[in-house]
């Protein structure tokens, strides 16, 4: 594709191809392309920037952080590189270094929705929900329909424990971006949290189909597929309503029958409930193992 006819390639076409590959979510090939750059272009800020985006896409965080630092060294402060550095440092478990990078970025571009959302996510992980809310609000004021704003609002609602709201925003996200795999993935996972097994599988399957390179989507789709297995049909109420409501319902039935003087029926209901508990404890791991083996084999 490049460089066969001898002399060193000039930078610009390589950069263009790398950008196109990144846009098509093919970071591995973008890296290969960038490796063809002549030495003078290979150490440019632009090369480090594109390499950093590719490495972040591949979740190779230590290298992504290095590429971001090299890019900042070569080209000076840049909001997007600082955002990438912040993300990489967060993934590497250095929240304070991540915060420094993101704040440096925000000092340059205080209204950048991507940076504001990246910082909001860091605050969520640090359990600072209030500050995260204000950051997301500020980002939404700049660009209410940016995908990153939708994703951050969903994550924030989920982290606050408001699953219904998270799912509602995810529906909005899918309605605005019907082609966006992340939107489908978020609708799928917020449905899974609410125990809506069918919606969860359909959302995550669409995400995995639209972005075949994303390992996370494939894994989640697989989990959703397991949850929708017919053998797990009996435990869906527990997923749907949570343990508290299911147990209350069971106890109302068991003790209600007894209070009505139907001792035998109450005993039967209690026995069935016991069997159900054992079933919900033993069967799911078996189904998981079985489906996984068939999936890979």
């Amino acid at each position: 594709m490049s460089g066969e006819n001898g002399g060193p390639m000039s930078g610009e076409p390589v950069f263009a191809r790398a950008r196109a590959l990144l846009g098509a979510n093919r970071p591995e090939q973008a890296l290969t392309e960038l490796a063809m750059l002549p030495a003078s272009d290979a150490i440019s800020a632009q090369a480090h920037h594109l390499r950093c985006v590719a490495l972040a896409g591949l979740e190779r965080w230590p290298e992504a952080a290095d590429a971001a630092r090299l890019g900042l060294g070569a080209g000076g402060p840049d909001p997007d590189l600082l955002r990438l550095l912040g993300r990489a440092e967060q993934e590497l478990g250095h929240p304070q270094a991540a915060e420094r990078a993101l704040l440096d970025g925000l000092a340059l571009a205080p209204n950048d929705a991507d940076l504001l959302c990246a910082y909001a996510r860091l605050c969520i992980a640090d359990n600072q929900m209030d500050k995260a809310s204000r950051l997301v609000e500020r980002a939404a004021a700049q660009d209410p329909h940016a995908p990153t704003v939708y994703a951050s609002r969903i994550q924030l609602a989920y982290a606050k424990g408001d699953d219904r709201e998270a799912q509602r925003i995810a529906r909005e996200f899918v309605a605005t971006y019907p082609e966006n795999p992340a939107a489908h993935a978020l609708l799928g996972s917020t449905s899974a949290v609410r125990g809506q097994v069918g919606d969860a599988y359909s959302g995550l399957r669409q995400a995995a189909a639209a972005a075949p390179g994303e390992q996370v989507y494939a894994e989640s789709a697989m989990d959703a597929r397991i949850a929708s297995h017919p053998l797990l049909l009996p435990i869906r109420p527990v997923l749907r309503f949570g343990p508290l409501k299911t147990w209350i319902a069971a106890l109302v039935v068991i003790y209600g029958l007894r209070a009505l003087g139907l001792g035998a029926l109450s005993l039967l209901a209690g026995g069935l409930w016991l069997v159900f508990c054992v079933y919900s404890w033993v069967v799911p791991p078996l189904v998981r193992r079985w489906v996984r083996r068939n999936w890979h084999g």
Partner: protein, 144 residues
């Protein structure tokens, strides 16, 4: 409006921190082990999650209050051992509601950060058994 928005506020994660349990799972231990089980597991988990001290204290108080209510009701419910057991489960579940109210959000924040929760099965079972016997014995001595 901008106040602390652009100043550093993120804390370094404690290095030797023990992994927390999934707060939803504490329900089962609380159901079978009564309110003190909910309180004790809630306090330990709250500390692992870095829940503010007043809330950890409230979790402990919820467990103790549940146990108090259980003793009182055991003294009033004249002769129905089944009902006394049921009250233990109900007060346990109520104490768990306090645990989940304080710990769901910090736990989800934790899973954003590094992920995997610790397994509650064995510690939960042992606590439920130990404190279950303790509570039953106390009720037997005090209220029956």
């Amino acid at each position: 409006m901008t106040d602390d928005l652009f100043t550093p506020t993120v804390r370094e994660r404690p290095v030797s921190g023990k992994r927390p349990w999934r707060p939803e799972s504490i329900f089962y231990a609380a159901f079978f082990g009564g309110p003190l089980t909910a309180g004790l597991l809630g306090v330990i988990n709250g500390r692992r999650l870095g829940v503010p001290a007043p809330r950890v204290l409230l979790t402990a108080l919820a467990g103790l209050a549940g146990f108090g209510a259980w003793i009182v009701s055991a003294a009033t419910l004249v002769d129905a051992n089944n009902a006394v057991r049921l009250v233990g489960s109900i007060t346990g579940a109520l104490a768990w509601l306090v645990v989940i109210a304080f710990q769901r959000a910090p736990f989800r924040a934790y899973t954003y950060g590094d992920g995997e929760p610790a397994k509650l099965f064995l510690p939960g079972l042992l606590t439920a058994l130990g404190l279950g016997f303790f509570q039953a014995a106390t009720i037997l001595v005090v209220a029956r």
